[in-house]
Structures are given as C-alpha cells and as structure tokens.
C-alpha cells in the first residue's frame, strides 16, 4: 500500500495533476467511460443490488455524467484566483485567494450507489488537481471490479488509482498519510476513519446517514405528495439510500388517508405482488436482509404493520412495508432503517412534528409536505439538517448549485458542483505588497505618537494612513 501512495505522491510532486488540460482530460475520460460502458455499469449495478435499469440510469449513470460535464464546464472559472479587497491597514497592497490542490487524497465509497458515490467525489478530487485513490465498497463487488478494470483504461493511472478490498485493505490504506480523506458510509466507520486521520492531522469529509424525517401536512395535493414520497423511499434502492425518507410524521386525523393513498400508489408502482416486480431493488446482502427482517419481526413492531411485510429470502427481497405508531424505543425507531420500511408517527397538531424531529440527531435531509407558508418558514429556520426539501424528496442531490452534506451525526463537509472542487482544495491567501507605504509607527521603540498613529491605522482612518505614509512620526536618529 505504501508503494501505491508513494507512486501517487511522486506523480503529484512532479506536477502532473496541476494543469487544467490534464484535469479536463481526466473528466472527459470519465464521461467517455460512462457513455461507452453504460451497459456494463448497469449490469454491475444489477448484479450488486438487482437495481432496475431505470434506477441505475436515473440515479447513477446520468447523474454521474451530468456532474462530470458540470465540472468540466466550471473548471477554468473555479481555478481562477479570487481577487479580494485589501484594507487600509496594509495599504498599498493587493490580495487574492488562490485555490490549490491538497495533494494525495483517499475516497472511500459506499455500496448503495456504488457507481455514483465513487465518481462524484473523484470528480471533485480531479477538478481540484489532486492525485486520488478510490476504494470502492467491497459490499458491491461487481461495481468495485468494474472500476478496477475500467478506470485504468479511461484515466491517467499514475495519478488515479483503484484499490479494492475489505476491512484489512481499508485499514492499511487508512494507516497511510493522506492530504484529505472523503468517506461515505455509516457513523461507526466514520469514527474509525476520523481517528485514523487524526494520526496524520488529515482533514476529513464524512458523508454519513441518519433518520431523515418526512413531515406530511393534510393540506397537500395528496396523490402527488405520496407519489413523490414513495418514489423517494422505494424507488431509490428500496429504501437503502442515505437521504431516503426514513419515517413520516403526520397528524392522527390525516394518517388513515395517507396510508390509503400509500397503498394505492404502491400497488400502481409495484403491482399486487411487489416481490415479483422487476422495478424493486433487492436488499444488498443477507447480513442486511436479516438485520431488516429482525427489525419488523420484533412483536412490538409487527403488530403495527398496516401494509406489506412480505419477504423472499432466496431473492433477498423485502416488500414495501408501512407501519403506524411503532413504539419509539424499538430498534426500528431508534436506528437508521436503510430499508423498505416506512413507519408513520402521528401527532396531534402538525406543528408538533417539528419538535419531534428536532428531538432527534440532525439528519442528512429533512422533508416537509405542506402548502402552509408559515409552517414552511418555521421548518426552514428551525430544523437543522444537511439539506431541506419542501414538497419533494431527494431531488436536491441533483442540483449542483446546492452543497450536499451532513451536520452533527450525519456528517461534516459538503460537495457537489463547485463544492466538490472546494472540498478538495486549499484556499491560499496571497497578499502582495510593495516597498512603498512604510509606516514607522509599526516598529519599536513604541512611542506615544506612534501608538496614536497605529490606532488610527488599525481603525481604518485615512487621515492616520496619510500621516503614516508621510513618515510620521519622524524618527529621531
């Protein structure tokens, strides 16, 4: 592993990754890879997750390509230094902020969107001029193998490497010195990554999970709201998505209508027997399958199921399941579900939902369906989260002008669009002075006259500046 890093560091030191042409060429290589190998990518995603081709296209392939193109377009602009004002105290001077690459970075990706969550951070790393190692998740082995096979063909292998493997390989990677580590996954591993990074004082970006709440008010266009809710939950990897709505909060009076509408929409989407539907992803592996079935087989939970609950062990499929008022101390209600279960929590008044949501750790995303402007405003100002959506779910991930990232337990650091570039850059302050504008007031011995001019200078007083520039106080030799 040290050899891999050594090679990367040598390439970086040689300046290979700095020129805009190199960065653009890599991004174009990625675009070509996505265009030419769409079938292979779709196949790998199907092998790993039984992902419907539509989902693979919609959520991974097209998004990855759009993000590459966006970075390609923005690259030259993002690389330009930012001129900023320099103040009176350092007059005359010019100041700018120069973005430079951090160096050699490590991207550890996740299994649920194994293609997108690998490409997206790598786009940022390349655009910012770094050398990068990608460690795809071993839990999505087909996609991991695909990266190992394809990346060397389409991009510069001396600066962009793929390292496959499980826990031992990842641990060895984490022992090396990196200039940044970008990790997507869960909080437990996030802690391990950060502790390993601490040894080398490496900054980290952690894209973690949480329980993303979806508050549904009764004044909504119910059919549209439920379709959006449903596609955001079950249409995204069957709930195995960090920003999928984890649970719903609605009023006691509205809950029955909501449940009815959910049932109808689910049947429309997946038919009478969802386990047979080609449009439903399977659970990634048996570990998670049993984790999930255990959650709903708990007696306190199973009696709260109002729809679904079926499972097929052989295919590792679990049907969309809706529950109402599950006891809050059950595992289903305390941990991130990451599966096809949607518990509905009922409250008396819709306003109570905000308090309920805020009593829990800050999520990666929070959703609110309502036409009530006042509720919307309260939601936006009082619900801390990585991102908020009103009247839709999940979509913000596709907007490259919005930073995507968590806060608190849901993570630290953000990316997408220009934020990806900044995530992997160091913003260096550059101050340029000349030899004019010498202020004797700066230096010892500190006489009272000097101090009053200094005071003026620091306060931004032009008069003091003029005095200082004129050489006051005059030095006695």
């Amino acid at each position: 592993m040290a050899g891999v890093v050594g090679e990367l560091r040598a390439s970086f030191k040689a300046g290979r990754t700095r020129p805009a042409e190199w960065r653009a060429a890599q991004l174009r290589g990625l675009i070509r890879m996505i265009e030419e190998r769409e079938e292979d990518i779709s196949d790998a995603l199907h092998a790993d997750l039984a992902k419907p081709r539509m989902e693979s296209y919609l959520h991974e392939i097209s998004l990855a390509k759009t993000n590459c193109t966006f970075a390609l377009k923005g690259l030259k602009n993002w690389m330009k230094p930012d001129k900023v004002p320099a103040g009176v105290a350092t007059f005359p001077s010019t100041a700018q902020i120069v973005s430079e690459p951090l160096g050699c970075v490590l991207v550890i990706s996740a299994w649920n969107y194994p293609f997108l969550l690998s490409i997206d951070p790598v786009i940022g790393a390349i655009a910012a001029g770094n050398a990068v190692v990608l460690k795809p998740s071993e839990i999505a082995p087909a996609t991991s193998a695909l990266f190992a096979k394809l990346l060397p063909v389409y991009v510069d292998n001396s600066c962009i490497k793929v390292v496959e493997g499980g826990v031992p390989e990842t641990t060895e990677l984490l022992d090396q010195k990196w200039d940044k580590i970008f990790y997507t996954g869960n909080g437990n591993i996030g802690r391990i990554v950060m502790a390993a990074a601490a040894k080398h004082l490496t900054p980290v970006a952690l894209e973690l999970g949480g329980k993303c709440p979806a508050i549904v008010d009764s004044d909504v266009d119910l059919h549209v709201a439920v379709k959006r809710l449903a596609v955001g939950k079950w249409g995204c990897n069957n709930g195995q998505t960090c920003i999928a709505p984890d649970y719903v909060v609605t009023t006691k009076s509205f809950a029955p209508e909501l449940v009815d509408s959910l049932k109808r929409v689910l049947e429309r989407f997946y038919g009478q027997d969802p386990l047979q539907s080609e449009d439903l992803s399977r659970i990634v592996n048996s570990n998670h399958f049993y984790r999930l079935t255990n959650l709903i087989d708990d007696k306190k939970v199973s009696q709260k199921i109002v729809h679904g609950g079926q499972r097929d062990e052989e295919q590792l499929k679990i049907a969309p399941t809706v529950l109402v008022d599950v006891p809050l101390d059950t595992a289903l209600m305390t941990g991130e579900i990451f599966g096809p279960f949607l518990p509905i929590v009922t409250v008396d008044k819709i306003e109570d939902s905000i308090e309920f949501v805020n009593a829990r750790s800050k999520p990666l995303a929070a959703y609110l369906f309502t036409k009530n402007k006042k509720l919307q405003a309260e939601f936006v100002s009082n619900v801390p989260a990585g991102g908020l959506l009103v009247n839709d779910v999940v979509l913000h991930v596709a907007n490259p002008h919005l930073p995507f990232g968590g806060v608190g337990e849901s993570g630290t650091g953000s990316y997408h669009g220009k934020f990806s570039f900044e995530c992997f850059s160091h913003k260096k302050a550059v101050l340029i002075r000349g030899f004019g504008g010498e202020a004797a007031a700066r230096y010892p011995p500190y006489t009272p006259e000097k101090q009053s001019i200094l005071r003026g200078l620091i306060d931004g007083s032009f008069f003091a500046l003029i005095l200082a520039l004129l050489g006051f106080p005059r030095e006695k030799r």
Partner: protein, 495 residues
C-alpha cells in the same frame, strides 16, 4: 495510557478555578440555552458583539497590564497585534453580520420548475474554543466573535500558560456577554481532556501539533468536527534587493515580524530566512544596525513565556555547531527570561533549531547559491502556516505561489496578513485545517443548509415506476437539458 495534554510537561498554573468543574452539566445547560433559540436571535448576536467591543474599549488599560504580566508585551505591541486588531475585526463582523446570515439564492435547474433553491446558514450549536498563550487575547476573542456572530453557545478554554489573561477573561466575559450562553473554563491539560470527553458541535484548537492530534482523536469518538490551527516553520525568502530604501524597508519588516511579534513566539512569525550567499552579508549588517535602533529602549521585545521554553531555546544555542554560527546576539539571561535577538548564519540543517519550530527570538539564515533554490528547500519541508518573500522578481513570485503550498503567502511584508479580514487565515497539511478571520470566522461556526422548495403544480410521470424504455428516453432529454425535445415528448406522454 493516553498521553495527557500537558504542554511540554510544565507544572499546571496556580489553580484559578474555585469550584469543581462539572463539564457534563455545563454542556447540557448550554445546550438547553441554545435549543431555546436565544443565541440564534439576530439582535442577541449583535448585542454580544457590541458587548465585546465595549469590553475591549472599557478595559484597555487592564488588558495592557495582563498582557504585560503574562508575556512582557509592550502596550504598543499589544495594541497592534491583539487589542486594536480585535476591535477592528469585531466592528467588521457587526457591520456585515446581517449579510452573512442571510439566505443565499442558488440556481435551480429549469427542469425542476417551479422550484426555488437557497443556502441558509445556521449555527452549529454549542462550540468549544481552545486558545493559545502567545496571543492570549486575540486567539480567544477572534474565534469567539465568529462563534457569536454565527449564533452559537460557547465554551472558551483559555491557555493556563497565560494565567493573568485567562483570569481576566473569566472575570470579564460574564460581565459584558450573556453568561448563560458563553462560559469560560479555566484550568490545565486535565481540564482540556475532560472537556474533550464530551460531544461538541465544533471544536477550534490553536496550539501544537502534538496536542492537535490528541484533540482530533478524542473528537472522533463523538464525530465532533474540528478545526486545528497549528504551528509550523514559516520561511522567509529574501531576494537580492537594489537600493538602500528597499533594503531598509525589508529589514524593518523582517525584524518586526520576528522580534517584534511576541519575541518570535508566534505561529506566523518568521522562523528562518533563505537568502542568496552574495546578499547574506548585506542583509546581516543591515539587520544588526536596525536591531540596535529598534531595541534601543528596554521593553522593545516581549519576554520568553516561562522557564521551560527558555530552557528549550537556550538548548538550541548550546549545540556547539549552532553556537559557532551565531553572528549576532546569543546572550541569555535566565533571571529575566530574556534571550536577546540572535541571528545564526548557516547552522547545520539537521540541528534542532532547524528541524523544530523555533517559537523564539533566534533567527537562522540559510544561504543558497541562487534564490530559486529556496523553492526546492520549501517543497521538501512540511507545509507551513505562512511563506514570506521579499522580492521584486515577478517570475519568482509566480513560482512561489504555484509551486509551494502554505496557509498563506505574503510578498514584501510579513505577519500583516493576520490583520486582513478579506482573506482566510489557517493552515494546510501539518499546519492544520479550517480557516477563520472575517467572514470565514462566521462560516467556521455555521452549517450551510441546502434548501429546495417545489410546488405540486407540474408533475413528470416519467419519474415513477413502473419503468419502461420510453421513460428512459424522456429522461435522457431531461438530463441533457434538451428542453425542446423534452417538450415535444411531454406532449405525447402526458395523460
């Protein structure tokens, strides 16, 4: 057993805490205050910033006294480097606060029409600030002002190695700020350790690499995000300069950035100089004569913090090869903890004084054959907080900016970048991560929340299962923003 936070094994400062600190209840008390929304309120934030300004202006004399007690700083230096800059900075924050805290509109792609997108800054919650002993006022209150501006509740742990300033902060912050939301905790490394056992919404640490690692490791247990402002060896390249005036100005600024800044005990002080061998004698002579003038009166330079640091610095000079390289100064006085401004010429590159951060009034000068060689020297060392270069050569300037990496680069001056609110201040690599000053202080303690609003008006059926190939075709148009094709398709697809 985990190593403690004891900085260089000093004995803890005389206990100034009177009651046993219960971090847990303090932290939960602060969280309650924060959850009540008190600190988010814009007027509250403004009143706190005004309170800070009042503190700094009312208590000016006392501030000069405590800084003199802790570090022997002359009031001129204290004003220039700590008090004056703080007042300027807090005023700047107050002026710009509303703008920084306002939601920022972001573009929403047309295909999501109608939709609005924006980024809303919000406070992180309850934050912890550790400050360092060398700029004990500035390194505490500058981040504090940023955290207040961003709407957080705050715990400040000032360094026990500057006890008078720490006591001053503990006594006065509660008087001028909202003591329910801003707490000062005094004590030594054990208190720091205890604080880090708890979860915070952000921790800013200014200090040494060694302690920085410990802080980050402890923070990892709670996924507490951290910002580390660490030390480094800040190089100063001095190119051949023509003209007496330019040379004098350069030397003034170099001396100011070394000995006039807490006697070199500053993270951004010039650590060592790189100069062409032909220019070195000119530089050394001019430095000697200027030093004589600047240090003519007593009190021109702060003293060394304490015995431990004094011994550390004296030890550098005890190395015989280093002692042989002294070309100016070298006298030490253990009674007053002073080391006179000392210049070394080409000490061995593997000596302690050349490998450790000096943090004191000793200045090694390293000569190179051509000034461009200094760039290779810089690239071989860990990334520093600042690189300085005195030169009129535009191509050298460009090479330094493009080929080296550091927190910041300043040409033809040094240390003054600290006073500029428009540029971020912070390190990279071993000198740390996370930036502050000006708007960056506000952002350091904020979460920038993405907000996306849609209406129920327009619905795209191809978003939903059951999937079929025609839907993929439509989506292809959507994602390549071929709106005309999309429009035509929609006419066919809409039910």
């Amino acid at each position: 057993m985990a190593p403690g936070l004891g900085a260089m094994g000093e004995k803890p400062a005389a206990a100034t805490t009177t009651k046993h600190l219960c971090v847990g209840s303090m932290a939960s008390g602060l969280r309650e205050v924060y959850e009540s929304g008190r600190t988010k309120d814009m007027e509250w934030r403004q009143s706190q910033l005004r309170g800070l300004i009042r503190l700094l202006t009312d208590k000016e004399e006392e501030i000069f006294d405590v800084l003199h007690e802790d570090l022997g700083k002359h009031r001129g230096e204290s004003f220039r480097d700590e008090l004056g800059i703080l007042v300027k900075s807090v005023k700047y924050t107050l002026q710009n606060l509303k703008k920084w805290a306002a939601p920022e509109k972001a573009e929403a792609p047309l295909v999501a029409f109608p939709a609005t997108a924006m980024v809303v800054p919000e406070p992180l919650g309850v934050v912890l600030i550790f400050s360092c002993w060398n700029l004990p006022l500035g390194l505490a209150l500058e981040p504090l002002s940023g955290a207040l501006a961003a709407g957080n509740a705050i715990v400040l742990k000032p360094s026990e190695l500057a006890p008078s300033t720490a006591a001053f902060l503990a006594a006065n912050l509660p008087k001028y700020l909202d003591s329910r939301a801003v707490k000062v905790v005094l004590g030594g490394p054990n208190v720091g350790e205890e604080l880090m056992e708890h979860r915070w919404d952000k921790v800013l640490f200014t200090g040494s690499e060694r302690v920085g690692r410990i802080i980050m490791t402890k923070a990892a247990k709670h996924l507490t995000p951290v910002a580390l402002e660490l030390g480094s060896k800040c190089s100063c390249i001095v190119d051949w300069l023509d003209g007496e005036r330019d040379r004098q100005v350069a030397v003034n600024r170099i001396i100011g950035a070394k000995w006039s800044t807490c006697a070199g005990q500053a993270c951004i002080a010039i650590d060592h100089i790189l100069v062409e061998e032909k220019f070195a004698p000119i530089l050394v002579e001019l430095m000697k004569s200027t030093l004589k003038r600047f240090m003519a009166k007593p009190g021109g330079m702060a003293r060394i913090l304490n015995e431990k640091h004094f011994q550390r610095l004296s030890a550098y000079l005890e190395d015989t090869k280093v002692a042989a390289s002294v070309v100016h100064g070298g006298c030490i006085d253990p009674k007053t903890l002073t080391i006179e401004p000392t210049i070394l010429l080409n000490p061995p590159v593997d000596s302690d004084v050349m490998t450790e951060e000096i943090f004191g009034p000793i200045l090694p000068i390293i000569t190179v054959k051509k000034i461009e060689d200094s760039i290779a020297f810089l690239k071989s060392k860990p990334k520093p907080l600042a690189i300085y270069a005195f030169t009129t050569n535009e191509s050298l300037k460009r090479r330094i900016v493009e080929e080296t990496s550091s927190g910041s680069v300043t040409f033809n001056d040094a240390v003054v970048q600290y006073a500029l609110e428009s540029v971020p201040f912070g390190g990279v690599g071993h000198s740390g991560f996370g930036q502050y000053h000006g708007k960056y202080s506000f952002e350091l303690f904020s979460n920038k929340k993405a907000v996306f609003k849609r209406s129920f008006l327009i619905e795209f059926m191809f978003r939903y299962p059951p999937w079929d190939d025609s839907k993929i075709g439509t989506l292809r148009h959507v994602f390549s923003y071929s709106y005309i094709l999309l429009f035509l398709t929609l006419l066919g697809l809409r039910r």
